[in-house]
């Protein structure tokens, strides 16, 4: 299997979906000749000229047009340059895209994918650095995914395009240039299925997107401390794969949840609640711990920016504290 960058795997998925279904097309700011702000569609322009529609700088109109296109039978992909800008399109996402299939008793479908980079780490300051998937996972009618690896980004993107419901597809900026094995050709990673990225018996770390990568690195270092860490990549925030999480917690009895979002009211609280409500409760052998973003706007200063979200060291320290190894 070939090693590819996350961004390459994503571009491959987009192109393959363009080829597979004539109804698939993409809209967004500067996605044509320029190739997108992060270069996801770079080099696609001459060949897929008709598939890439350049738009004005108005997130409300882009998503609104996307919802309209989806309602009349197209399968639009909308790129929002920074996921922070989705706030401008909330009416279309929350009140229209998420509701119409329900309100028409299934007569209408909204096969829309909104894909967007998220997260801090690039020095882009408070309005260009948020991780907000939890905000969307709160809304019934939306599916929310955030793949962490090149393999998952390709497979999940294909699943998102083929889903008849609106899917919000989050790509952490720092993941674009990470490498991993990606098979050639068509394959699907189902939405709503978590993945055990690393097996272990002592503690379960539940992570998503960038925190999966950080947790795996922490797990490797914790091996030296004699702590055998299991890392679960939730992959989909909505629907959430409770079963995989519960099975792991029953096995290990200890849990650390690591999220890149702001900690307060974050998705980790939902995961924690599902564990405590489940059969896993009787197997818990330590208070469930959570690491999340500090409840502050992401600072511009790179040192402060790094301190605002959980890093590898934070994960290691927290796990060591759980095992009384401070």
């Amino acid at each position: 299997m070939a090693e590819k960058l996350y961004i390459e795997a994503l571009a491959e998925a987009i192109k393959e979906e363009f080829e597979r279904d004539p109804n698939v097309f993409m809209m967004g700011e500067d996605i044509g000749i320029y190739g997108g702000a992060f270069g996801v569609t770079k080099g696609m322009y001459p060949k897929y000229k008709d598939k890439l529609i350049e738009t004005p700088i108005s997130e409300a109109s882009i998503v609104g047009a996307g919802v309209g296109a989806a309602l009349v039978g197209m399968r639009p992909i909308v790129e929002i340059m920074f996921s922070d800008f989705m706030m401008d399109a909330m009416e279309w996402i929350v009140n229209q895209a998420a509701k119409l299939r329900y309100m028409t008793g299934g007569q209408l479908k909204v096969p829309l994918v909104i894909r967007s980079p998220m997260g801090s780490g690039t020095g882009a300051a408070a309005q260009h650095s948020q991780s907000l998937p939890a905000m969307f996972a709160h809304i019934p009618g939306l599916k929310v995914v955030m793949p962490a690896t090149p393999y998952d980004v390709k497979g999940l993107f294909k699943a998102a395009v083929r889903d008849d419901n609106p899917v919000i597809f989050f790509e952490h900026k720092l993941l674009y240039w990470t490498k991993g094995e990606v098979p050639e050709g068509d394959y699907i990673v189902p939405i709503g299925k978590a993945d055990v990225k690393r097996e272990g018996k002592d503690i379960t770390i539940i992570a998503g997107s960038i925190t999966v990568i950080r947790s795996l690195e922490a797990a490797e270092k914790l091996k030296g401390e004699g702590i055998d860490v299991e890392v679960i990549d939730i992959r989909s925030l909505s629907p959430l794969d409770t079963e995989t999480i519960v099975n792991s917690v029953i096995k290990t009895g200890k849990v650390l949840i690591v999220e890149d979002d702001n900690k307060s009211y974050g998705w980790g609280a939902e995961v924690l609640s599902r564990i405590v409500e489940s059969d896993a409760f009787d197997y818990l052998d330590y208070p469930i711990q959570r690491l999340g973003g500090k409840d502050v706007p992401i600072p511009y200063n790179p040192k402060l920016e790094g301190a605002a979200v959980p890093q590898v060291e934070d994960i290691i320290e927290t796990v060591k504290a759980i095992f009384g190894k401070e």
Binding site: G253, F281, D282, Y283, L284, D285, Y286, P287, E326
Partner: protein, 414 residues
């Protein structure tokens, strides 16, 4: 007007006391200075005086029950006095009394309101996993010693408890048999983990779990020190306490600690804290466990004074009359099992101290020196040290120093 007797605070860490026995019945007359009841704290049982003269009108905390400090335990007043009003307004008047009498203590309690509250609840802290296993095996959680923070019981603690229980009672009766033969005396006896036993268990468990122990042993030639003791004791008056070997060991340890002050430290919150006073504890065996009375500032005291204090403290310890100040604040402990014919042994450090000296009996053995065989009285002593603070060579040097002092007792004078 009747008076409300409160649970006294008998030590810095005491949060509640258990009423062991009421020495007076309701309706009986009491004098202010007369013993009214026996109270058991974490380490000692003490008699508590009535404090008021009158009739014991009402007992509020029964025998075997625990009561938090500064809370009413009895009402003393005039015979036939109506105490309904007092019982109703107990909360108000008790608050007032507290303020008046125990002002200082009040302040101290407020420093750690949470901890006090939690201990008062006295519900065991345990994880869901521990509770599940305990439930399945019919185990009372309060009997399991928790290894986690604040004594939290984890799954492994319950598993450990089950394993030990099975070891002790290999042929347990099956459930069916138990139901049928309910009236019969069971084939085993349950000793509840309470009082001193529980304290010892928790302290020792914690010590061995947190302090990595290592041990060094040395032989000491005792001829000179025994001679010295004989000489000194012959000069004592009839009514003066004889200087014991333990007194000499404590003094020698005190002198050695002056040279190696790190042995006078303890670990707290990731820091090593050095004490100024050199206070040496001596392990005293009791029927129900053991207690370690402490002789303070051993380095500044003469042998006669140490011997007198030692005798007094041992007496008090055996009678369960030690005051909290007399068994806390130790720097270093000596445990001597020589009188039980023990040649050598290793001891578990008395936390939060960083070392303990285990002393065996003196026996005459042939010693080869410069090609000659001599019969020498030899004593073996083993130092257990906490490796977080003390390294091997240091432990060896310190032990060597004690040995030198004992072998050349003129150093007591220096």
């Amino acid at each position: 007007m009747a008076n409300v007797k409160l649970m006294p605070k008998l030590g810095m860490t005491m949060t509640a006391g258990k009423v062991v026995r009421w020495l007076k019945k309701e309706g009986e007359k009491v004098e202010a200075g007369e013993p009214l009841l026996e109270i058991e704290t974490d380490k000692v049982t003490m008699e508590e005086e009535a404090g008021y003269t009158g009739t014991l009108l009402k007992i509020l905390v029964r025998e075997g029950e625990e009561g938090p400090i500064n809370q009413p335990i009895a009402i003393i007043g005039e015979e036939g006095e109506d105490i309904e009003e007092i019982l109703k307004t107990l909360k108000v008047s008790e608050g007032a009394e507290e303020e008046k009498k125990e002002e200082k203590i009040e302040v101290k309690i407020e420093e750690k309101p949470e901890e006090v509250k939690r201990e008062e609840i006295s519900k065991p802290r345990a994880t869901p996993a521990a509770r599940k296993i305990a439930r399945e095996h019919g185990i009372v959680l309060s009997e399991v010693i928790g290894s986690g923070a604040h004594g939290r019981v984890h799954r492994k603690d319950v598993e450990e408890y089950i394993r030990k229980r099975t070891e002790i009672v290999p042929s347990q009766v099956t459930v069916e048999q138990k139901v049928e033969k309910k009236e019969e005396i069971p084939s085993y006896r349950v000793i509840p983990f309470t009082g001193m036993r529980k304290i010892i268990a928790e302290k020792m468990q914690k010590s061995i779990n947190t302090a990595p122990h290592f041990y060094v042993t040395m032989e000491v030639k005792m001829r000179e020190i025994l001679k010295l003791r004989e000489t000194l004791n012959s000069k004592l008056k009839e009514d003066e306490a004889k200087i014991s070997l333990n007194s000499l060991l404590m003094k020698a340890a005190g002198i050695a600690i002056k040279d190696y002050p790190i042995f006078n430290s303890y670990v707290e919150e990731g820091q090593i804290i050095l004490r100024n006073e050199i206070n040496i504890g001596l392990a005293v065996a009791l029927d129900e466990g053991l207690v370690v009375p402490v002789i303070r500032e051993v380095d500044k005291k003469g042998l006669k004074e140490i011997a007198r204090e030692e005798k007094e403290l041992i007496q008090k310890a055996r009678e369960g009359r030690l005051m909290p100040d007399e068994y806390t604040g130790g720097s270093f402990t000596i445990s001597n099992l020589g009188m039980f014919d023990v040649v050598r042994f290793t001891a578990i450090i008395n936390p939060p101290e960083v070392a303990i000296l285990a002393v065996g009996k003196i026996r005459e053995i042939p010693v080869v020196e410069e090609g000659q065989i001599e019969i020498e009285p030899i004593m073996e002593m083993t130092l257990s040290s906490d490796h977080r603070v003390i390294d091997g060579a240091l432990a060896a040097k310190f032990l060597k120093r004690i040995k030198e002092i004992l072998e050349d007792p003129l150093q007591f004078v220096l």
